[in-house]
């Protein structure tokens, strides 16, 4: 994961503070696609994702005075975006967490637990991501899908680096559990209650 050099960040941040629309457009060009995709996968639909994208840019304007350059501007913006997405999904995610927390993906590694063959199509993987609890989903998307390093994921999500590693690992285990269910292909289209049903 690379980012624009800090000097460029500082210049861009100064222009953003000045309400320079060209600077906002530049920022949009740099990050909109990734932000939109993160929001899409966090929130689950295009309409909410675009609304989140707009809201992130409003928050950039509202909060740019507080940007001190301690992290890359990109990292700071992804943090705004992920906070926004997490806020919007919190109640829904908490609900899912209650339903899925009884799963023990670790058991999948124990001898004697028969794990069916796993197939990983991109479509099934998208479905599996969609039913992850929001904390796992955020870490998995940032690390495994978007390619951020664990230290960047930690900064973006405001967690320890070790927690990022743990969240991503648990997300992978849950995805594997999802993908090894015999009826994924037919049930997955119906969404989160697949795990609920099996828990």
């Amino acid at each position: 994961m690379t980012d624009v050099p800090r000097t460029a960040d500082a210049t861009l941040a100064r222009r953003l503070k000045q309400g320079d629309m060209d600077a906002y457009e530049e920022l949009y060009r740099l990050h909109a696609r990734r932000l939109y995709n993160l929001a899409w996968r966090m929130l689950g639909n295009a309409s909410d994702a675009e609304d989140a994208l707009q809201e992130v840019f409003l928050q950039v304007f509202r909060k740019i005075d507080g940007y001190r350059g301690d992290s890359a501007l990109g990292t700071w913006i992804y943090r705004l975006a992920m906070n926004l997405c997490v806020d919007r999904t919190r109640s829904r995610a908490a609900h899912d967490e209650q339903k899925t927390e009884t799963l023990d993906p670790v058991r999948m590694a124990e001898p004697g637990v028969q794990v069916p063959e796993m197939s990983v199509s991109r479509l099934d993987l998208e479905r599996a991501i969609a039913v992850l609890p929001e904390g796992y989903r955020a870490a998995f998307l940032l690390h495994d899908v978007e390619g951020f390093e664990h230290r960047e994921v930690a900064t973006i999500l405001g967690i320890a680096e070790g927690t990022s590693k743990s969240q991503v690992h648990k997300a992978r285990l849950r995805i594997r559990h999802f993908l090894t269910q015999p009826s994924v292909a037919t049930d997955a289209v119906t969404g989160p209650h697949l795990l609920e049903k099996r828990a």
């Binding site: 629309m21 060209d22 906002y24 909109a32 994208l53 409003l58 991109r122 899908v145 090894t180």
Partner: protein, 245 residues
């Protein structure tokens, strides 16, 4: 070592952390435990597949809506106006060059001399006059480019509509649908440019829509020519391209 204990080693194995080496017990466990071998292999596949997930394209006009919300945000306009002294319009030469290149490539060399003369005269003015004149000059250039596109489109539409070659109703419906979509994009981009004349995205969006319309009309005429010649293979190829666009 149990599978449960071995699980601590799995993240580093899956991510291929540099410098991570399994100790003897973990290595022996992995070598003998089919379940853990499968676990590591499965998680690696998940990680590899995740890195290849397709990105969904951002709606092409999403920037306009972001900009509109920024403009509507209390305080945004005030901050921007203080900075710019009230003037927020800006065009850049790279964009102008890109628009001109697009125009030459699509519409043809017929206008090259005319636009070239206009560009050099504008450059001369820019060298001697102030910023306002420069901005005005560039706006004129963009308008000229837009006019050329519109002339080209009008000419192509005329040729297409004057043809006596009957088109298959299904192909015709597809053409009309595509033209409607492009016209919608042109209208939307024009509206965006009116509200935000300096937006490069809106400028690019407008010229991209123009380019697509010219290309579609050119394909339509090419299709009619192939049909007139009785070249079914050529016509089928063009129809394939048209229905994909």
């Amino acid at each position: 070592m149990t599978c449960h204990e071995f699980l601590d080693h799995v993240p580093a194995l899956v991510e291929g952390e540099p410098g991570h080496r399994l100790d003897g017990a973990a290595e022996r466990h992995l070598a003998s435990c089919e379940s853990c071998q499968r676990l590591v292999a499965d998680l690696r596949r998940i990680t590899r597949t995740a890195a290849t997930l397709d990105g969904r394209p951002v709606p092409p006009d999403a920037w306009h809506r972001v900009a509109a919300r920024l403009n509507a945000e209390p305080g945004f306009a005030e901050v921007g106006n203080r900075r710019a002294g009230g003037a927020r319009i800006s065009y850049s030469w790279p964009w102008l060059a890109a628009a001109a290149a697009l125009l030459f490539a699509t519409v043809g060399v017929a206008w090259y001399a005319g636009l070239g003369r206009q560009s050099s005269s504008s450059a001369g003015v820019a060298g001697n006059a102030g910023q306002d004149q420069l901005v005005q000059s560039i706006e004129n250039e963009l308008q000229l480019a837009a006019d050329h596109y519109e002339n080209a489109i009008a000419g192509l539409e005329k040729v297409a509509s004057a043809s006596d070659v009957p088109l298959d109703p299904e192909v015709l419906a597809t053409l009309r649908k595509n033209l409607d979509l492009i016209d919608g994009a042109i209208d939307e981009s024009r509206a965006a440019l009116r509200s935000q004349p300096g937006s490069r995205v809106a400028q690019e969006s407008l010229f991209d829509a123009f380019r697509r319309k010219v290309a579609l009309l050119q394909d339509t005429i090419a299709l009619m020519n192939e049909m007139r010649k009785g070249d079914e293979a050529g016509a089928a190829r063009i129809i394939g391209d048209l229905t994909k666009s």
